[in-house]
Amino acid sequence: MPEAVRDHSHVPGLAHHFDTLDQQTEATTLGMWVFLVTEVLFFGGLFTVYTVYRSWYPGAFAAASHELDITLGTINTAVLITSSLTMALAVHAAQLGERRTLLIFLAATMLLGGVFLGIKGFEYYHKFVEHHVPGSSFQFEQEYFRHAQIFFSLYFMMTGLHALHMVIGFGIMLVMFWWAWKGTITLEYYSPIEISGLYWHFVDIVWIFLFPLLYLIGRHAH
């Protein structure tokens, strides 16, 4: 092991208990990946509930999923994939130390995230108007009245949790933008951008699975 750099003051962003910057970057990246494992299982619980009830009530789930607006869903998917692209390009810019492009792509990612949440908000408003929110005010065709409530409970729970993760991601992007702006992020020390990139891509992957499961099932029936 080469004689470690004893005083850590001149190496920007290196915490006292790590020996080298490489060790710290590997540790933080592994830490984020382990955190993403917990997120996979966190959403995994919801996917299990979805799988069980869809296998029990296919008819009700297909009928209820028809009430969702597929065009808005598709647009939202495209918006989120584009934000994943801009995030990847932001990480790319950080790797090359191009501060201006990094700021542009971070802003683009935030903008696209905002668009996604806006569309989602509109869809929620549409559900309130149509009385598709489970509970006393719920209205649905008599045939699937009981089981459709399970679908919409799942819909609100899954997309609600996903939207919450988007909001958290938006907050992280703001902090990253601020750090990139005031120069904490440099050519040597850009792992925070990489870490937030991993988080953002994960939130995109969750939506990649939510979209077909909630919007596309039984679409062909009518």
Partner: protein, 313 residues
């Protein structure tokens, strides 16, 4: 001296006890073996001087394989024996005396086919297989009779069947074994196993207001089910005569056997599984009929089983 072992009063109890004693034997053997070795080694190899260290032994593959394979074999024996007894518990014999059980927050309600109703007390004949068809009106309860070694959760929204065959007359305690609220420990009762002759006299003596099926027939008229479900296949609903137990072709192409659960679900959620050739126009009776009334209707439809099944159009 307090009892240290429960009585065994059902055919299943002796088989469970045999498995229990086998497990006790294994546990006693390995428990004493480990405890004995620890005490023996602690005494024999007690540290004499402060600087003494142990022998440099790192391990022995043969021992490792031994104490992995042997426990594995023992557990597989346990698994197979346990599974066979479990299968016997899960599958009631063909001919059984059916009794309906409704668990409700903190009481047990029983309904015999001939109309007798009992609360927290169940009279059954000895020597005959009894099948309990149970459901709950509110939360999850659990029908547990220690002397019969039977226990099964009673779940709202679903029929759960339990069966036993009493071997010894007597009064056996009934517990609710799934936590269900304040009076969970008060939700107890007794199962009275009687000689068949005594059971008949008890049956006769009860102030029966007509059999469950007859109550079901009356309800069938009151709720105007007969306007759609007519025996001459001219009604808008499927013919119910001779339906129970048969397989039904559904609109979606699947087939399902018309058992208690299917009848109950078709009353509460008619559109879920519509019979082929019919429209989902039957209104739901969710909240209009109580669990007891549901049981009466199910029993009535079962009683139509004997009639020939008229070909529906």
């Amino acid at each position: 001296m307090p009892p240290l072992f429960p009585d065994a009063a059902s055919t299943m109890a002796t088989r469970v006890d045999a498995l229990y004693f086998f497990l006790l034997a294994i546990s006693a053997f390995f428990g004493l073996l480990i405890a004995g070795l620890i005490v023996y080694f602690a005494l024999k190899f007690h540290r004499r001087t402060a600087e003494q260290i142990g022998a440099r032994i790192h391990g022995a593959m043969s021992l490792e394989i031994g104490w992995t394979v042997i426990p594995l074999m023992i557990t597989m024996v346990l698994f197979v024996w346990g599974a066979s007894v479990y299968f016997a518990m899960a599958y009631p014999p063909e001919e059984t005396l059916n009794i309906y059980v409704v668990g409700k927050q903190w009481m047990w309600k029983f309904q015999h086919l001939d109309g007798q109703r009992e609360i927290n007390e169940l009279h059954v004949p000895v020597g005959r297989a009894v099948k309990l068809i149970t459901t709950s009106e509110d939360v999850i309860h659990d029908f547990f009779v220690p002397a019969f070694r039977i226990k099964a959760d009673v779940i709202p929204g679903r029929y759960v069947t339990i069966w036993f065959q009493a071997t010894k007359p007597g009064r056996y305690r009934l517990f609710c074994a799934e936590y269900c609220g304040t009076k969970h420990s008060g939700m107890i009762g007794e199962v009275v196993a009687m000689e068949p002759s005594e059971y008949q006299t008890w049956l006769g003596g009860g102030a029966a207001e007509g059999s469950l099926a007859s109550a079901g027939a009356k309800l069938f008229q009151d709720l105007a089910c007969n306007t759609c479900h007519r025996p001459d296949a001219q009604g808008r609903g499927p013919v119910l005569e001779g339906l129970f137990g048969k397989t039904v072709m559904l609109q979606s192409g699947e087939t399902v056997t018309a058992d208690e659960a299917y009848v109950r679900e078709s009353i509460l959620q008619p559109a879920a599984r519509v019979t082929a050739g019919f429209q989902p126009i039957m209104p739901t009776f969710q909240g209009l009929v109580t669990e007891e009334q549901l049981l009466e209707l199910v029993e009535y439809i079962k009683s139509l089983q004997a009639l020939p099944q008229v070909q529906t159009r």
